[in-house]
Homo-oligomer: 149 residues x 2
DNA sequence: GTTGAAAAAACAGAGGA
DNA sequence: TCCTCTGTTTTTTCAAC
């Protein structure tokens, strides 16, 4: 993965539907060349997938929260959260809690309801997300000239 | 937003580069019809953007952690994390901590280093992510027949 | 890696159910 | 609002360099 690959990824990150022709212009390469590079990075698994990002508010997921969870029965717990449409993420973490969940619903009222459903799996702390100063930063930052070599 | 729109979004979520023609086939609609629906949802802000998802491991971000932060000087803190390439997310949360950060680096060693840089902004607890049973669940789930009406 | 031409596909528009 | 049909543009593929 050289500098041009990183440049390609930088552009693709936030414009997944860009055409190979346009992408070629952006990185000063011919279209067949970028197409081949993208194909190779897909094959290598560097590029995992192309996602469409929806507005949480406009699809009824305007309320977000994190939950620090402590459970004894990991298996039953995982089964539950896999099927719950409100659980967007689940991470196994170090520390006194087992899991960190990200939950999204239409309102804090629904968050509370979700909490009720969780009661039987263990104890938890809910952290309501009031705002997200950084919702998502891209993994590949814009490249300066110095890093070209 | 009707049932067909949701079906369209369902497909777009994980295949942002699909063509309108193919998408039309998937939802049993003609190409001009889906194109128009997608255009409208972009305009309405339901569709926010199209992203390419990269493999964290393969771009040198194999180690992830969450940080529960408590700071007094929010302004200086936000300035700092905005510019740090390791901070992928930042959420303002309720509870005894101000912020929840998601940090990604190449190793736990780098996480430690990042922690050192944070010391001057306040106190924090690091939660190392050991695995992610659910890294990301899509906001629009697959639709069953019953929800068609 | 480049260009350039041919083939395939996708898209945008018009008219009509 | 959707469909079909058509013309145009874009993209891809495949050569040769």
């Amino acid at each position: 993965m050289d500098h041009i690959d990183k440049q390609i990824l930088f552009h693709l990150q936030k414009q997944a539907r860009i055409s190979m022709t346009e992408l070629g212009k952006a990185v000063a390469l011919s279209q067949p060349a970028v197409t081949e590079r993208v194909r190779r990075m897909e094959e290598q698994g560097i590029i995992e997938e192309y996602r469409t990002i929806l507005s949480p508010e406009k699809v009824g997921k305007g309320a977000a929260a994190y939950m620090l969870f402590r459970t004894r029965d990991c298996h039953a717990f995982l089964d539950f959260i896999q099927t719950s449409p409100d659980v967007i993420e689940c991470h196994r973490i170090s520390g006194e809690h087992n899991y960190l969940l990200k939950v999204m619903t239409d309102s804090t009222r629904s968050l509370e309801e979700f909490g009720n459903q969780c009661d039987k799996y263990g104890t938890y702390t809910i952290l309501i997300v009031m705002s997200s100063p950084i919702d998502h930063k891209f993994l590949i930052p814009m490249l300066d000239q110095a890093s070209e070599r």
